[in-house]
């Protein structure tokens, strides 16, 4: 994108997931969606209507969801086990660890309404831990797409892969950050916009606010790079280190606890390479999350164009003093 481009609203990434899965499912009858009474929230009702034989409903039983998905995958099915991320990543964690990752069957786990998408429903329904727990599981690809393009490409990549995947989707309509002809590669971050003063390394629904921050900073003569680190595992360490070497400060942004997520992954990468750069993690702090909508929660914790621009200025001022 160009820094002056207006953001154009697209669809929710979840809707793109559903549309892509229908396309894939129509072409390949082995594509299956497994849901835990979550077809509505997963936007999979059209999939269920069009491809009823390819949807398996297990009821509100997330452990069984993942076990059944692993069994189906072992029999050659290309399975998308779809459930709210808050439940999928912890209620079913042992099934993810053993039945999918350790047993090495290519189940695609789809965490829907992720992060604080269910904002006002409270912490039971927030998933601020999913990336942290899955980063510690061997043999799973973790992808958090930023926009409709990344969402679509990630679903296609997961369907084509013989590796277990975890895909994380939110409910909000996301602005387009890519053109349809761009390249997408699992494990290779996307540079949304180039810059040299600040590097925002973000993922998922926080990439758009990072871009808005870059626009505000640009007006003030500060050049910001915005990176969509859509694949958190395996991590694109090359792009992280390049940013740490070329930019004056690095700010990570995630809709996740600051503990164990993208920020810590970047920090350890930079530190182990022996690079010293002013660094700031922006995300949800280790406290009971404030009540409110996703937008209100984002604003509260500075995950907004204005909030992130302010954080960037603070970081740069520190360097200069």
């Amino acid at each position: 994108m160009k820094i002056t481009d207006q953001l154009i609203k697209g669809k929710a990434n979840l809707e793109v997931y559903s549309e892509t899965l229908i396309e894939l499912g129509q072409a390949d009858r082995n594509i299956m969606a497994v849901t835990s009474d979550s077809r509505g929230s997963g936007k999979l009702t059209p999939f269920a209507d069009k491809l009823p034989e390819q949807l398996v409903e297990v009821g509100i039983a997330e452990q069984n969801l993942v076990g059944v998905a692993a069994g189906l995958a072992a029999a050659g099915k290309k399975v998308f086990a779809t459930s709210p991320s808050c439940f999928l990543a912890t209620r079913s964690l042992e099934q993810i660890k053993n039945d999918v990752a350790y047993s090495n069957y290519p189940v695609n786990l789809v965490g829907i309404s992720a992060g604080v998408s269910y904002g006002a429903l409270g912490s039971t329904h927030h998933s601020l831990h999913d990336v942290a727990v899955l980063r510690a599981i061997n043999n799973i690809v973790v992808v958090v797409p930023a926009d409709n393009f990344e969402a679509r490409e990630a679903v296609k990549a997961a369907a084509a892969s013989d590796k277990p995947f975890f895909l994380k989707f939110g409910k909000k309509n996301m602005p387009h950050l890519h053109t349809a002809d761009e390249k997408f590669e699992i494990g290779k971050a996307s540079i949304i916009v180039e810059g040299t003063d600040v590097a925002f390394i973000a993922c998922g629904e926080t990439v758009a606010p990072a871009f808005e921050a870059a626009q505000k900073l640009n007006e003030q003569g500060i050049s910001a790079r915005v990176i969509s680190m859509h694949t958190i595992k395996p991590l694109d360490t090359e792009t992280i280190l390049k940013a740490a070497r070329e930019c004056k400060t690095v700010i990570t942004v995630e809709e996740h606890s600051v503990n164990g997520g993208l920020g810590e992954a970047c920090a350890s990468t930079i530190l182990e390479a022996g690079i010293s750069v002013p660094f700031k993690r922006v995300g949800l702090p280790d406290e009971e999350t404030v009540a409110g909508s996703q937008a209100e929660i984002f604003n509260h914790y500075g995950i907004s164009g204005e909030g992130l621009a302010r954080t960037a200025r603070t970081c740069i001022n520190k360097i200069q003093t």
Partner: protein
């Protein structure tokens, strides 16, 4: 240990003279037996009950040998389920070393993964890998770790955390239904394992999807690591629970080859219902001082105990 080695090498292993057999399968749609010959190219010897019984004694000797060598293992549970595994792999399952990748092979998922030594010796005896490889059991860099893993030929899933086998098996059985494939799925659970909630999630779902190609076998030896099931957290009434969940329930003596063969070969026994086989077993079965004693859950015999166990098993062979 030298003494043990001599004893094992001198024990004769039954020769494996398998023959081909074609297995009929139940066609759910037409409600008839599919007798299309040639679709099943089994290489399976038909053993007599006496031959299976003798084989089980050899298998017991083998699993004790490798537990002794590894100085680790779940001896009691191995001995309670070995007869069931013997019947599965030598009389029931349509799977062989040659057909481990055949999409239509029968699947066996060992939910009570800790009884892995029993599974390893049965697989080795059936030709999936050389028995001698089990000398590395639980050793540094061995693929024969203390719970089933897919690195071992013939093993379908990495199990050992309890409450996982039934959901996985339900998924496999559902895939067979979706594909109209003829294979059956067997899993074995421990009775202590019934406390895991995931079993009941899968029990509900398997009945909902009418997975008559699914058989869950309970190795009901009544003991778990802490003591009697009824004292730890009672699973009773067991049969009534599974009946209430919509399953076909059959109770058998888990050490009676006639009963095991009849019941396990009957799958799918009742159209549109999964089958639960409540197999009453004895923990430590076959070794007098291990039978029904909880300390043998993961007890390893001393040299003296090992010799005594072998003497007992040899005496059973001679009978």
């Amino acid at each position: 240990m030298g003494n043990i080695q001599t004893r094992i090498e001198s024990s004769s292993w039954p020769s494996d003279n398998r023959r081909r057999e074609n297995r009929p399968s139940w066609n759910l749609e037409s409600g008839t037996w599919n007798l299309e010959l040639g679709t099943w190219n089994l290489k399976m010897k038909k053993y007599t009950n006496l031959e299976l019984k003798q084989k089980s004694i050899h298998l017991r000797k083998a699993l004790l040998k490798y537990i002794k060598l590894a100085n680790a293992g779940h001896t009691g549970g191995d001995l309670s389920c070995i007869d069931i595994l013997n019947v599965l792999y030598n009389d029931v399952l349509n799977v062989s070393p040659e057909t481990v990748n055949d999409p239509n092979r029968d699947r066996y998922i060992q939910s009570k993964g800790h009884a892995v030594e029993a599974l390893y010796v049965v697989l080795a005896d059936a030709g999936f890998f050389p028995m001698s490889e089990l000398e590395t059991l639980c050793k540094y860099q061995s693929k024969y770790v203390g719970h089933p893993t897919r690195k071992v030929k013939g093993i379908e899933f990495n199990t050992g955390a309890l409450g996982h086998g039934l959901p996985i098996s339900a998924g496999l059985a559902l895939a067979a239904k979706k594909d109209g494939a003829p294979y059956r799925v067997f899993t074995m659970l421990g009775d202590g394992e019934l406390a895991e909630g995931s079993n009941w999630e899968a029990a509900m779902m398997a009945a909902h999807y009418k997975l008559d190609n699914l058989v869950a076998i309970l190795d009901h030896n009544t003991l778990q690591i802490t003591g009697r099931n009824v004292e730890v957290c009672s699973p009773h009434p067991i049969a009534e629970k599974w009946l209430a969940f919509g399953w076909n329930v059959i109770e058998v003596n888990g050490h009676d080859f006639e009963q095991l063969r009849e019941v396990l070969n009957a799958a799918p026994a009742v159209p549109r219902k999964p089958t639960f086989v409540l197999a009453n077993t004895v923990k430590g079965k076959g070794i007098s001082f291990m039978e029904d004693v909880k300390k043998w859950h993961h007890g390893v015999p001393s040299d003296e105990e090992y010799e005594k166990a072998l003497t007992e098993l040899d005496a059973q062979l001679a009978r």
